[in-house]
Protein backbone atom coordinates (compact mmCIF):
# COMPACT_ATOMS: atom_id res chain seq x y z
CA UNK A 1 0.00 0.00 0.00
CA UNK A 2 1.12 3.50 -0.80
CA UNK A 3 2.15 5.63 2.22
CA UNK A 4 0.01 8.68 3.01
CA UNK A 5 3.00 11.02 3.12
CA UNK A 6 6.39 10.40 1.58
CA UNK A 7 9.35 12.69 2.14
CA UNK A 8 12.23 12.01 -0.24
CA UNK A 9 15.68 13.36 0.65
CA UNK A 10 14.39 16.83 1.47
CA UNK A 11 17.04 19.49 2.16
CA UNK A 12 16.65 23.11 3.17
CA UNK A 13 19.29 25.77 3.76
CA UNK A 14 18.86 29.15 5.42
CA UNK A 15 21.63 31.69 4.87
CA UNK A 16 24.55 29.36 5.46
CA UNK A 17 22.76 27.11 7.93
CA UNK A 18 21.70 23.61 6.86
CA UNK A 19 18.28 23.29 8.48
CA UNK A 20 17.37 19.97 6.84
CA UNK A 21 19.82 17.46 5.44
CA UNK A 22 18.41 14.83 3.03
CA UNK A 23 15.52 13.84 5.25
CA UNK A 24 13.57 10.70 4.29
CA UNK A 25 10.33 9.73 5.97
CA UNK A 26 7.18 7.74 5.12
CA UNK A 27 3.96 7.96 7.11
CA UNK A 28 0.84 5.82 6.80
CA UNK A 29 -2.76 6.90 7.23
CA UNK A 30 -3.97 7.05 10.84
CA UNK A 31 -0.49 7.15 12.37
CA UNK A 32 0.40 9.45 15.26
CA UNK A 33 3.94 10.62 14.61
CA UNK A 34 5.96 12.80 16.98
CA UNK A 35 8.81 14.86 15.55
CA UNK A 36 11.08 15.14 18.56
CA UNK A 37 14.26 17.10 18.96
CA UNK A 38 15.92 20.09 20.62
CA UNK A 39 15.18 23.59 19.32
CA UNK A 40 16.96 24.25 16.06
CA UNK A 41 17.04 20.57 15.08
CA UNK A 42 14.91 21.17 11.98
CA UNK A 43 11.63 19.67 13.15
CA UNK A 44 9.63 22.86 12.64
CA UNK A 45 11.34 23.46 9.29
CA UNK A 46 10.30 19.98 8.19
CA UNK A 47 6.73 20.65 9.33
CA UNK A 48 6.64 23.96 7.44
CA UNK A 49 7.90 22.22 4.29
CA UNK A 50 5.08 19.70 4.58
CA UNK A 51 2.52 22.45 5.18
CA UNK A 52 3.80 24.42 2.19
CA UNK A 53 5.06 27.52 4.01
CA UNK A 54 8.62 26.66 2.96
CA UNK A 55 9.82 25.21 -0.29
CA UNK A 56 12.59 22.60 0.06
CA UNK A 57 15.80 23.31 -1.85
CA UNK A 58 16.02 19.65 -2.83
CA UNK A 59 13.90 16.54 -2.61
CA UNK A 60 10.21 15.79 -3.02
CA UNK A 61 7.14 15.64 -0.81
CA UNK A 62 4.30 13.37 -1.93
CA UNK A 63 0.83 12.82 -0.57
CA UNK A 64 -0.66 9.49 -1.69
CA UNK A 65 1.83 9.44 -4.49
CA UNK A 66 1.02 12.95 -5.80
CA UNK A 67 3.95 15.36 -5.78
CA UNK A 68 3.00 18.47 -3.77
CA UNK A 69 6.53 19.86 -3.30
CA UNK A 70 5.72 23.10 -5.13
CA UNK A 71 2.04 23.36 -4.28
CA UNK A 72 0.94 26.41 -2.25
CA UNK A 73 -0.45 25.74 1.24
CA UNK A 74 -4.03 26.39 0.14
CA UNK A 75 -3.91 23.49 -2.35
CA UNK A 76 -2.69 20.81 0.09
CA UNK A 77 -5.05 18.23 1.63
CA UNK A 78 -3.75 18.84 5.13
CA UNK A 79 -4.22 21.33 7.94
CA UNK A 80 -2.12 22.79 10.72
CA UNK A 81 -2.56 23.60 14.41
CA UNK A 82 -0.20 26.50 15.06
CA UNK A 83 1.93 26.96 18.13
CA UNK A 84 0.37 30.39 18.71
CA UNK A 85 -3.04 28.94 17.65
CA UNK A 86 -3.30 31.83 15.11
CA UNK A 87 -7.03 32.26 15.71
CA UNK A 88 -8.42 35.17 13.72
CA UNK A 89 -9.02 37.78 16.43
CA UNK A 90 -11.66 39.67 14.43
CA UNK A 91 -13.90 36.64 13.94
CA UNK A 92 -16.09 34.73 16.36
CA UNK A 93 -15.07 31.23 17.36
CA UNK A 94 -17.72 29.75 15.05
CA UNK A 95 -16.55 31.92 12.12
CA UNK A 96 -12.98 30.84 12.78
CA UNK A 97 -13.96 27.19 12.54
CA UNK A 98 -16.24 27.78 9.54
CA UNK A 99 -13.43 29.60 7.70
CA UNK A 100 -12.05 26.42 6.09
CA UNK A 101 -15.36 25.05 4.79
CA UNK A 102 -16.33 28.52 3.52
CA UNK A 103 -13.10 28.80 1.48
CA UNK A 104 -13.76 25.34 0.09
CA UNK A 105 -17.02 26.70 -1.31
CA UNK A 106 -19.45 25.35 1.26
CA UNK A 107 -22.58 27.45 1.81
CA UNK A 108 -22.91 29.60 4.90
CA UNK A 109 -25.48 27.50 6.75
CA UNK A 110 -23.76 24.21 5.96
CA UNK A 111 -20.36 25.63 7.02
CA UNK A 112 -21.81 26.86 10.31
CA UNK A 113 -23.36 23.49 11.07
CA UNK A 114 -20.07 21.75 10.37
CA UNK A 115 -18.33 24.27 12.62
CA UNK A 116 -20.81 23.42 15.40
CA UNK A 117 -20.05 19.71 14.93
CA UNK A 118 -16.30 20.29 15.14
CA UNK A 119 -16.71 22.49 18.21
CA UNK A 120 -18.87 19.81 19.85
CA UNK A 121 -16.09 17.31 19.23
CA UNK A 122 -13.70 19.41 21.33
CA UNK A 123 -16.38 20.19 23.91
CA UNK A 124 -16.88 23.86 23.06
CA UNK A 125 -20.33 23.87 21.42
CA UNK A 126 -21.44 26.69 23.75
CA UNK A 127 -18.62 29.07 22.81
CA UNK A 128 -19.35 29.69 19.12
CA UNK A 129 -20.48 33.30 19.52
CA UNK A 130 -17.51 34.46 21.57
CA UNK A 131 -14.37 36.10 20.28
CA UNK A 132 -11.18 34.06 20.64
CA UNK A 133 -9.62 36.45 23.15
CA UNK A 134 -12.55 35.83 25.53
CA UNK A 135 -11.45 32.20 25.87
CA UNK A 136 -8.83 30.65 28.14
CA UNK A 137 -5.59 29.31 26.68
CA UNK A 138 -6.84 25.72 26.84
CA UNK A 139 -10.09 26.66 25.12
CA UNK A 140 -8.25 28.56 22.38
CA UNK A 141 -6.16 25.46 21.84
CA UNK A 142 -9.31 23.40 21.33
CA UNK A 143 -10.72 25.96 18.88
CA UNK A 144 -7.50 25.78 16.89
CA UNK A 145 -7.89 22.01 16.80
CA UNK A 146 -11.56 22.20 15.78
CA UNK A 147 -10.69 24.67 13.01
CA UNK A 148 -7.97 22.37 11.69
CA UNK A 149 -10.05 19.17 11.63
CA UNK A 150 -13.35 20.61 10.38
CA UNK A 151 -12.34 19.95 6.77
CA UNK A 152 -11.43 16.32 7.66
CA UNK A 153 -7.89 16.54 6.25
CA UNK A 154 -5.96 13.33 5.66
CA UNK A 155 -3.09 14.68 7.65
CA UNK A 156 -2.95 17.10 10.56
CA UNK A 157 0.24 18.96 11.44
CA UNK A 158 0.62 20.17 15.00
CA UNK A 159 3.44 22.60 15.82
CA UNK A 160 4.11 22.34 19.58
CA UNK A 161 0.40 22.93 20.17
CA UNK A 162 0.52 22.37 23.92
CA UNK A 163 3.64 24.38 24.76
CA UNK A 164 1.70 27.42 26.00
CA UNK A 165 -0.39 25.43 28.50
CA UNK A 166 0.47 24.75 32.12
CA UNK A 167 1.64 21.28 33.07
CA UNK A 168 -1.64 19.85 34.41
CA UNK A 169 -3.73 21.09 31.49
CA UNK A 170 -1.06 19.90 29.16
CA UNK A 171 -1.23 16.34 30.49
CA UNK A 172 -5.01 16.34 30.11
CA UNK A 173 -4.85 17.69 26.56
CA UNK A 174 -2.30 15.02 25.61
CA UNK A 175 -4.79 12.30 26.46
CA UNK A 176 -7.66 14.16 24.84
CA UNK A 177 -5.73 14.79 21.62
CA UNK A 178 -4.85 11.13 21.45
CA UNK A 179 -8.52 10.16 21.81
CA UNK A 180 -9.64 12.61 19.14
CA UNK A 181 -6.95 11.33 16.81
CA UNK A 182 -8.08 7.73 17.30
CA UNK A 183 -11.72 8.68 16.84
CA UNK A 184 -11.16 10.61 13.60
CA UNK A 185 -8.50 8.31 12.17
CA UNK A 186 -6.58 11.33 10.82
CA UNK A 187 -2.79 10.97 10.71
CA UNK A 188 -1.11 13.42 13.11
CA UNK A 189 2.40 14.79 12.83
CA UNK A 190 3.14 16.37 16.17
CA UNK A 191 6.21 18.55 16.68
CA UNK A 192 7.53 18.70 20.23
CA UNK A 193 10.75 19.10 22.17
CA UNK A 194 9.27 17.33 25.18
CA UNK A 195 10.24 13.64 25.14
CA UNK A 196 7.61 12.66 27.70
CA UNK A 197 4.92 14.24 25.56
CA UNK A 198 6.18 12.38 22.50
CA UNK A 199 6.25 9.05 24.37
CA UNK A 200 2.81 9.60 25.87
CA UNK A 201 1.09 10.25 22.54
CA UNK A 202 2.90 8.90 19.50
CA UNK A 203 2.82 5.51 17.79
CA UNK A 204 6.16 6.35 16.25
CA UNK A 205 8.73 8.91 17.23
CA UNK A 206 11.09 10.59 14.78
CA UNK A 207 14.10 11.93 16.69
CA UNK A 208 15.85 14.76 14.88
CA UNK A 209 19.16 16.46 15.50
CA UNK A 210 21.04 19.11 13.50
CA UNK A 211 18.83 18.74 10.41
CA UNK A 212 18.99 14.94 10.23
CA UNK A 213 16.81 12.10 11.45
CA UNK A 214 18.66 10.21 14.18
CA UNK A 215 16.14 7.46 14.70
CA UNK A 216 12.60 6.44 13.78
CA UNK A 217 10.85 3.97 16.02
CA UNK A 218 8.16 3.19 18.54
CA UNK A 219 8.48 4.90 21.92
CA UNK A 220 9.74 1.61 23.39
CA UNK A 221 12.41 1.25 20.65
CA UNK A 222 13.59 4.78 21.17
CA UNK A 223 13.76 4.40 24.93
CA UNK A 224 15.19 0.91 25.20
CA UNK A 225 17.37 0.82 22.12
CA UNK A 226 18.53 4.32 21.19
CA UNK A 227 20.40 4.34 17.91
CA UNK A 228 22.95 6.90 19.04
CA UNK A 229 24.40 8.60 22.07
CA UNK A 230 22.33 11.69 21.15
CA UNK A 231 19.05 9.75 21.27
CA UNK A 232 20.05 8.02 24.49
CA UNK A 233 20.78 11.35 26.15
CA UNK A 234 17.85 13.29 24.69
CA UNK A 235 15.23 10.69 25.63
CA UNK A 236 15.17 9.92 29.34
CA UNK A 237 18.11 9.75 31.75
CA UNK A 238 20.72 7.28 30.60
CA UNK A 239 23.62 5.75 32.52
CA UNK A 240 26.39 5.56 29.96
CA UNK A 241 28.91 3.02 31.22
CA UNK A 242 32.29 2.92 29.46
CA UNK A 243 33.54 -0.43 28.12
CA UNK A 244 37.06 -1.63 27.25
CA UNK A 245 38.25 -4.45 24.98
CA UNK A 246 38.59 -7.80 26.76
CA UNK A 247 40.16 -10.27 24.42
CA UNK A 248 38.89 -11.38 21.01
CA UNK A 249 35.20 -10.68 20.42
CA UNK A 250 34.60 -9.53 24.00
CA UNK A 251 34.41 -6.24 25.86
CA UNK A 252 34.32 -5.55 29.57
CA UNK A 253 32.25 -3.06 31.62
CA UNK A 254 34.59 -0.71 33.42
CA UNK A 255 32.40 -0.58 36.51
CA UNK A 256 31.44 -4.19 37.28
CA UNK A 257 33.94 -6.07 35.22
CA UNK A 258 31.11 -8.00 33.52
CA UNK A 259 31.87 -9.11 29.96
CA UNK A 260 29.77 -8.70 26.83
CA UNK A 261 30.08 -9.72 23.20
CA UNK A 262 32.00 -7.04 21.29
CA UNK A 263 30.28 -4.86 18.66
CA UNK A 264 31.94 -2.51 16.17
CA UNK A 265 32.24 1.12 17.26
CA UNK A 266 30.92 0.65 20.78
CA UNK A 267 32.66 2.60 23.51
CA UNK A 268 29.89 2.55 26.10
CA UNK A 269 26.67 0.79 26.96
CA UNK A 270 23.46 2.27 28.30
CA UNK A 271 21.49 1.26 31.35
CA UNK A 272 18.37 3.19 32.36
CA UNK A 273 18.28 4.23 36.06
CA UNK A 274 15.46 1.74 36.70
CA UNK A 275 17.68 -1.10 35.39
CA UNK A 276 20.01 -0.65 38.36
CA UNK A 277 19.10 -2.16 41.75
CA UNK A 278 20.53 -2.03 45.23
CA UNK A 279 21.73 -5.46 46.38
CA UNK A 280 21.53 -6.74 49.98
CA UNK A 281 23.41 -9.90 50.87
CA UNK A 282 24.28 -12.39 48.11
CA UNK A 283 23.29 -11.23 44.63
CA UNK A 284 21.42 -13.52 42.22
CA UNK A 285 23.73 -15.17 39.71
CA UNK A 286 22.52 -13.14 36.69
CA UNK A 287 23.42 -9.78 38.31
CA UNK A 288 26.75 -8.10 37.84
CA UNK A 289 27.63 -6.07 40.93
CA UNK A 290 29.76 -3.08 41.84
CA UNK A 291 30.44 -1.35 45.16
CA UNK A 292 29.72 2.35 45.36
CA UNK A 293 29.21 5.32 47.66
CA UNK A 294 25.96 7.35 47.62
CA UNK A 295 26.73 10.97 46.66
CA UNK A 296 23.26 12.47 46.53
CA UNK A 297 19.63 11.51 47.10
CA UNK A 298 16.86 13.27 45.13
CA UNK A 299 13.37 12.24 46.18
CA UNK A 300 10.43 13.61 44.12
CA UNK A 301 7.59 11.43 45.40
CA UNK A 302 6.92 8.61 42.99
CA UNK A 303 10.63 8.15 42.27
CA UNK A 304 13.79 8.55 44.30
CA UNK A 305 17.03 8.88 42.38
CA UNK A 306 20.35 7.97 43.98
CA UNK A 307 23.59 9.24 42.55
CA UNK A 308 26.14 6.53 43.30
CA UNK A 309 29.86 6.85 42.65
CA UNK A 310 31.58 3.70 41.45
CA UNK A 311 35.22 4.53 40.81
CA UNK A 312 35.29 7.44 38.36
CA UNK A 313 31.70 6.90 37.13
CA UNK A 314 28.56 8.30 38.78
CA UNK A 315 25.51 6.11 38.16
CA UNK A 316 21.86 7.10 38.58
CA UNK A 317 19.68 4.55 40.32
CA UNK A 318 15.90 4.98 40.31
CA UNK A 319 13.73 3.46 43.05
CA UNK A 320 9.97 3.64 43.33
CA UNK A 321 8.53 5.67 46.18
CA UNK A 322 10.36 7.50 48.92
CA UNK A 323 11.87 4.46 50.69
CA UNK A 324 15.41 5.00 49.43
CA UNK A 325 15.33 8.46 50.96
CA UNK A 326 16.54 6.77 54.12
CA UNK A 327 19.96 6.44 52.49
CA UNK A 328 22.39 9.28 53.07
CA UNK A 329 25.24 10.71 51.09
CA UNK A 330 28.26 8.69 52.18
CA UNK A 331 26.39 5.37 52.58
CA UNK A 332 28.20 2.43 51.03
CA UNK A 333 25.95 0.36 48.74
CA UNK A 334 26.26 -2.51 46.30
CA UNK A 335 24.74 -1.95 42.85
CA UNK A 336 23.46 -4.77 40.72
CA UNK A 337 22.66 -4.72 37.03
CA UNK A 338 21.32 -7.29 34.63
CA UNK A 339 23.74 -7.63 31.73
CA UNK A 340 20.92 -8.54 29.34
CA UNK A 341 19.32 -5.11 29.94
CA UNK A 342 22.39 -3.25 28.68
CA UNK A 343 22.16 -1.61 25.28
CA UNK A 344 25.41 -0.91 23.41
CA UNK A 345 25.69 2.64 22.03
CA UNK A 346 27.21 2.72 18.54
CA UNK A 347 29.26 5.83 17.77
Amino acid sequence: MQPLLTIESVSKRFAGHQALHEVDLAIDGGEFIALLGPSGCGKTTLLRCIAGFLKPDDGRILIEGADITGAPPYRRPLNTVFQSYALFPHMSVADNVAYGPRRAGTGRAEAQSRAREALALVGLEEMGERLPRALSGGQQQRVALARAIVNRPKLLLLDEPLSALDLKLRRRMQIELKHIQEKLGIAFIFVTHDQEEAMAMANRIVVMNAGRIEQIGTPADIYRAPASRFVAEFVGEPNLIPVEPAGPGRMRLKVTGAELPYAEGVRCVMARPEDLVLVDGTPPADLATAAGIVEEVVAVGPVTTLFVRCGDVVLKVARLGMSAAALHPGSAVTLGLRVSALHPIVE
Binding site: G52, P73, Y74, T80, A86, F88, P89, G100
Partner: protein, 264 residues
Protein backbone atom coordinates in the same frame (compact mmCIF):
# COMPACT_ATOMS: atom_id res chain seq x y z
CA UNK B 1 8.81 68.60 46.94
CA UNK B 2 10.23 71.93 45.81
CA UNK B 3 11.43 70.31 42.59
CA UNK B 4 8.04 68.78 41.94
CA UNK B 5 6.42 72.13 42.53
CA UNK B 6 8.80 73.87 40.10
CA UNK B 7 8.22 71.20 37.46
CA UNK B 8 4.47 71.68 37.90
CA UNK B 9 4.80 75.44 37.41
CA UNK B 10 6.98 75.11 34.30
CA UNK B 11 4.71 72.41 32.86
CA UNK B 12 1.53 74.40 33.39
CA UNK B 13 3.16 77.52 31.95
CA UNK B 14 4.24 75.46 28.92
CA UNK B 15 0.69 74.16 28.48
CA UNK B 16 -0.65 77.71 28.65
CA UNK B 17 1.94 78.74 26.07
CA UNK B 18 0.73 75.96 23.79
CA UNK B 19 -2.92 76.87 24.07
CA UNK B 20 -2.72 80.67 24.12
CA UNK B 21 -2.31 81.40 20.38
CA UNK B 22 -5.13 79.04 19.47
CA UNK B 23 -7.47 80.63 22.00
CA UNK B 24 -6.53 84.08 20.77
CA UNK B 25 -7.28 83.18 17.16
CA UNK B 26 -10.62 81.59 17.87
CA UNK B 27 -11.52 84.51 20.14
CA UNK B 28 -10.42 87.14 17.66
CA UNK B 29 -12.51 85.55 14.90
CA UNK B 30 -15.63 86.39 16.91
CA UNK B 31 -15.01 90.12 17.27
CA UNK B 32 -17.46 92.65 15.86
CA UNK B 33 -14.73 95.14 15.04
CA UNK B 34 -13.29 95.26 11.53
CA UNK B 35 -9.77 95.06 12.97
CA UNK B 36 -8.41 92.17 15.02
CA UNK B 37 -9.18 92.50 18.67
CA UNK B 38 -8.57 90.17 21.56
CA UNK B 39 -10.42 89.88 23.83
CA UNK B 40 -13.13 90.20 21.12
CA UNK B 41 -15.34 93.29 21.20
CA UNK B 42 -18.81 91.83 21.09
CA UNK B 43 -19.58 88.42 19.64
CA UNK B 44 -20.48 87.70 16.02
CA UNK B 45 -20.16 84.99 13.40
CA UNK B 46 -20.23 87.49 10.55
CA UNK B 47 -16.59 86.92 9.55
CA UNK B 48 -17.38 83.31 8.84
CA UNK B 49 -20.19 84.54 6.59
CA UNK B 50 -17.80 86.87 4.76
CA UNK B 51 -15.56 83.89 4.22
CA UNK B 52 -18.20 81.69 2.69
CA UNK B 53 -19.39 84.49 0.42
CA UNK B 54 -15.91 84.80 -1.05
CA UNK B 55 -15.63 82.32 -3.95
CA UNK B 56 -11.83 82.35 -3.82
CA UNK B 57 -11.92 81.03 -0.23
CA UNK B 58 -14.56 78.47 -1.06
CA UNK B 59 -12.60 77.20 -4.04
CA UNK B 60 -9.39 77.07 -1.98
CA UNK B 61 -11.23 75.03 0.67
CA UNK B 62 -12.47 72.68 -2.04
CA UNK B 63 -9.01 72.36 -3.62
CA UNK B 64 -7.35 71.68 -0.26
CA UNK B 65 -9.91 69.07 0.70
CA UNK B 66 -9.87 67.29 -2.66
CA UNK B 67 -6.10 67.39 -2.68
CA UNK B 68 -5.80 65.97 0.84
CA UNK B 69 -8.38 63.27 0.11
CA UNK B 70 -6.81 62.22 -3.18
CA UNK B 71 -3.29 62.25 -1.73
CA UNK B 72 -4.40 60.13 1.23
CA UNK B 73 -6.18 57.58 -0.93
CA UNK B 74 -3.26 57.23 -3.36
CA UNK B 75 -0.80 57.04 -0.45
CA UNK B 76 -2.81 54.26 1.20
CA UNK B 77 -3.08 52.30 -2.05
CA UNK B 78 0.69 52.55 -2.54
CA UNK B 79 1.69 52.09 1.09
CA UNK B 80 -0.16 48.81 1.72
CA UNK B 81 1.74 46.68 -0.83
CA UNK B 82 4.98 48.45 0.09
CA UNK B 83 4.57 47.70 3.79
CA UNK B 84 3.65 44.07 3.03
CA UNK B 85 6.85 43.71 1.02
CA UNK B 86 8.97 45.39 3.71
CA UNK B 87 7.46 43.45 6.60
CA UNK B 88 7.23 40.04 4.95
CA UNK B 89 10.39 39.53 2.95
CA UNK B 90 14.09 39.74 3.52
CA UNK B 91 15.76 40.87 0.33
CA UNK B 92 18.77 42.78 -0.91
CA UNK B 93 18.10 46.51 -0.80
CA UNK B 94 15.29 46.22 1.73
CA UNK B 95 16.88 48.78 4.07
CA UNK B 96 17.56 51.15 1.20
CA UNK B 97 13.99 50.95 -0.07
CA UNK B 98 12.59 51.46 3.40
CA UNK B 99 14.82 54.52 3.93
CA UNK B 100 13.81 55.91 0.54
CA UNK B 101 10.09 55.56 1.25
CA UNK B 102 10.46 57.08 4.73
CA UNK B 103 12.85 59.89 3.78
CA UNK B 104 10.19 62.52 2.94
CA UNK B 105 9.52 62.65 6.69
CA UNK B 106 12.86 64.32 7.31
CA UNK B 107 13.53 66.21 4.08
CA UNK B 108 13.02 69.97 4.06
CA UNK B 109 9.69 70.44 2.28
CA UNK B 110 11.01 73.62 0.70
CA UNK B 111 13.63 71.58 -1.14
CA UNK B 112 11.09 69.01 -2.27
CA UNK B 113 8.70 71.73 -3.41
CA UNK B 114 11.42 73.45 -5.41
CA UNK B 115 12.44 70.13 -6.93
CA UNK B 116 8.90 69.34 -8.00
CA UNK B 117 8.48 72.79 -9.55
CA UNK B 118 11.72 72.46 -11.49
CA UNK B 119 10.99 68.89 -12.55
CA UNK B 120 7.37 69.72 -13.29
CA UNK B 121 8.40 72.59 -15.56
CA UNK B 122 10.63 70.19 -17.44
CA UNK B 123 7.83 67.69 -18.11
CA UNK B 124 4.98 70.21 -18.38
CA UNK B 125 3.33 69.35 -15.08
CA UNK B 126 4.11 72.51 -13.10
CA UNK B 127 1.41 74.44 -11.25
CA UNK B 128 -1.35 71.90 -11.78
CA UNK B 129 -3.51 69.85 -9.45
CA UNK B 130 -1.56 66.77 -10.58
CA UNK B 131 1.75 68.43 -9.63
CA UNK B 132 0.36 69.22 -6.18
CA UNK B 133 -1.05 65.73 -5.86
CA UNK B 134 2.13 63.79 -6.62
CA UNK B 135 4.10 65.95 -4.18
CA UNK B 136 1.55 65.48 -1.44
CA UNK B 137 1.44 61.72 -2.01
CA UNK B 138 5.22 61.62 -1.56
CA UNK B 139 5.16 63.51 1.74
CA UNK B 140 2.14 61.76 3.29
CA UNK B 141 2.92 58.18 2.33
CA UNK B 142 5.45 57.72 5.17
CA UNK B 143 2.68 58.41 7.72
CA UNK B 144 0.62 55.52 6.37
CA UNK B 145 3.67 53.26 6.12
CA UNK B 146 4.67 54.06 9.67
CA UNK B 147 1.22 53.26 11.05
CA UNK B 148 0.76 50.05 9.06
CA UNK B 149 4.23 48.48 9.31
CA UNK B 150 4.22 47.85 13.08
CA UNK B 151 0.95 45.94 12.70
CA UNK B 152 2.46 43.41 10.31
CA UNK B 153 3.99 41.38 13.13
CA UNK B 154 5.07 37.72 13.18
CA UNK B 155 1.77 36.94 14.95
CA UNK B 156 -0.07 38.59 12.10
CA UNK B 157 2.04 36.51 9.71
CA UNK B 158 0.89 33.35 11.51
CA UNK B 159 -2.72 34.41 10.88
CA UNK B 160 -2.02 34.65 7.16
CA UNK B 161 -0.42 31.22 7.18
CA UNK B 162 -3.42 29.82 9.05
CA UNK B 163 -5.71 31.34 6.44
CA UNK B 164 -3.82 29.79 3.54
CA UNK B 165 -3.54 26.52 5.43
CA UNK B 166 -7.34 26.51 5.62
CA UNK B 167 -7.58 26.83 1.87
CA UNK B 168 -7.81 30.60 1.28
CA UNK B 169 -5.93 31.98 -1.73
CA UNK B 170 -3.52 34.91 -1.16
CA UNK B 171 -6.12 37.37 -2.46
CA UNK B 172 -8.86 36.00 -0.20
CA UNK B 173 -6.37 36.02 2.68
CA UNK B 174 -5.58 39.67 2.08
CA UNK B 175 -9.21 40.78 2.20
CA UNK B 176 -10.44 38.42 4.93
CA UNK B 177 -7.48 38.44 7.31
CA UNK B 178 -4.78 41.03 6.51
CA UNK B 179 -7.01 44.01 5.81
CA UNK B 180 -9.18 43.66 8.94
CA UNK B 181 -6.00 43.38 11.01
CA UNK B 182 -4.30 46.52 9.65
CA UNK B 183 -7.45 48.63 9.34
CA UNK B 184 -6.62 50.57 12.51
CA UNK B 185 -3.22 51.52 11.13
CA UNK B 186 -4.71 52.55 7.81
CA UNK B 187 -7.28 54.77 9.52
CA UNK B 188 -4.83 56.47 11.89
CA UNK B 189 -2.11 56.77 9.24
CA UNK B 190 -4.68 58.03 6.77
CA UNK B 191 -5.89 60.72 9.19
CA UNK B 192 -2.32 61.87 9.82
CA UNK B 193 -1.73 61.88 6.08
CA UNK B 194 -4.89 63.87 5.43
CA UNK B 195 -4.02 66.49 8.03
CA UNK B 196 -0.40 66.79 6.91
CA UNK B 197 -1.56 67.40 3.38
CA UNK B 198 -4.31 69.78 4.45
CA UNK B 199 -1.98 72.07 6.40
CA UNK B 200 1.01 72.02 4.08
CA UNK B 201 2.44 75.31 2.85
CA UNK B 202 6.10 74.71 2.04
CA UNK B 203 5.49 72.10 -0.63
CA UNK B 204 2.30 73.50 -2.13
CA UNK B 205 3.49 77.08 -2.42
CA UNK B 206 5.73 76.24 -5.38
CA UNK B 207 2.98 74.72 -7.46
CA UNK B 208 -0.02 76.91 -6.66
CA UNK B 209 -1.23 79.89 -8.65
CA UNK B 210 -3.95 82.48 -8.19
CA UNK B 211 -6.36 80.17 -10.01
CA UNK B 212 -5.29 77.03 -8.17
CA UNK B 213 -4.79 77.71 -4.51
CA UNK B 214 -4.91 75.74 -1.28
CA UNK B 215 -6.17 77.21 1.95
CA UNK B 216 -2.82 77.28 3.76
CA UNK B 217 -1.04 78.92 0.82
CA UNK B 218 -3.83 81.46 0.38
CA UNK B 219 -3.63 82.28 4.07
CA UNK B 220 0.12 82.52 3.94
CA UNK B 221 0.03 85.01 1.09
CA UNK B 222 -2.76 86.97 2.76
CA UNK B 223 -1.25 87.14 6.24
CA UNK B 224 1.98 88.60 4.94
CA UNK B 225 0.12 91.77 3.95
CA UNK B 226 -3.12 92.00 5.91
CA UNK B 227 -4.29 90.89 9.29
CA UNK B 228 -8.03 91.04 9.81
CA UNK B 229 -10.84 89.02 11.38
CA UNK B 230 -11.46 87.12 8.11
CA UNK B 231 -8.10 85.41 8.37
CA UNK B 232 -8.79 84.68 12.03
CA UNK B 233 -12.04 83.04 10.95
CA UNK B 234 -10.25 80.80 8.43
CA UNK B 235 -7.70 79.90 11.07
CA UNK B 236 -10.42 79.19 13.61
CA UNK B 237 -12.04 76.76 11.18
CA UNK B 238 -8.78 74.85 10.76
CA UNK B 239 -8.21 74.76 14.52
CA UNK B 240 -11.68 73.42 15.20
CA UNK B 241 -11.26 70.88 12.38
CA UNK B 242 -7.94 69.75 13.86
CA UNK B 243 -9.45 69.41 17.32
CA UNK B 244 -12.32 67.35 15.91
CA UNK B 245 -9.94 65.02 14.07
CA UNK B 246 -7.89 64.55 17.21
CA UNK B 247 -10.88 63.74 19.35
CA UNK B 248 -11.97 61.32 16.62
CA UNK B 249 -8.51 59.71 16.66
CA UNK B 250 -8.56 59.54 20.44
CA UNK B 251 -11.89 57.76 20.39
CA UNK B 252 -10.86 55.42 17.57
CA UNK B 253 -7.41 54.34 18.62
CA UNK B 254 -6.50 56.13 21.84
CA UNK B 255 -3.80 58.76 21.60
CA UNK B 256 -1.10 56.55 23.04
CA UNK B 257 -0.51 55.51 19.46
CA UNK B 258 0.44 59.10 18.76
CA UNK B 259 3.08 59.38 21.41
CA UNK B 260 5.73 59.04 18.80
CA UNK B 261 7.50 61.69 16.78
CA UNK B 262 5.62 63.58 14.13
CA UNK B 263 6.85 66.21 11.80
CA UNK B 264 5.46 69.58 12.81
Amino acid sequence: MITRFLIRIVALAALAYLVLPLVVIVGASLTETSYLAFPPQGLTLKWFGVLFDDPSYVSAFVTSTLLALAATVVAIVLAIPASLALARYVFAGREAISSLLMSPLVLPYVVLGAALLQFGSAIGLARSFEALLVGHVVIVMPFVLRSVLPLLTPEQRALEEASMDLGATPVATFFLVVLPQIRGGIVSGGLLAFISSWINVELSIFNTSSALNTIPVKMFNYVQYTIDPTIAAVSAITIVAAALVIILLDLLIGLDMLSESRRP
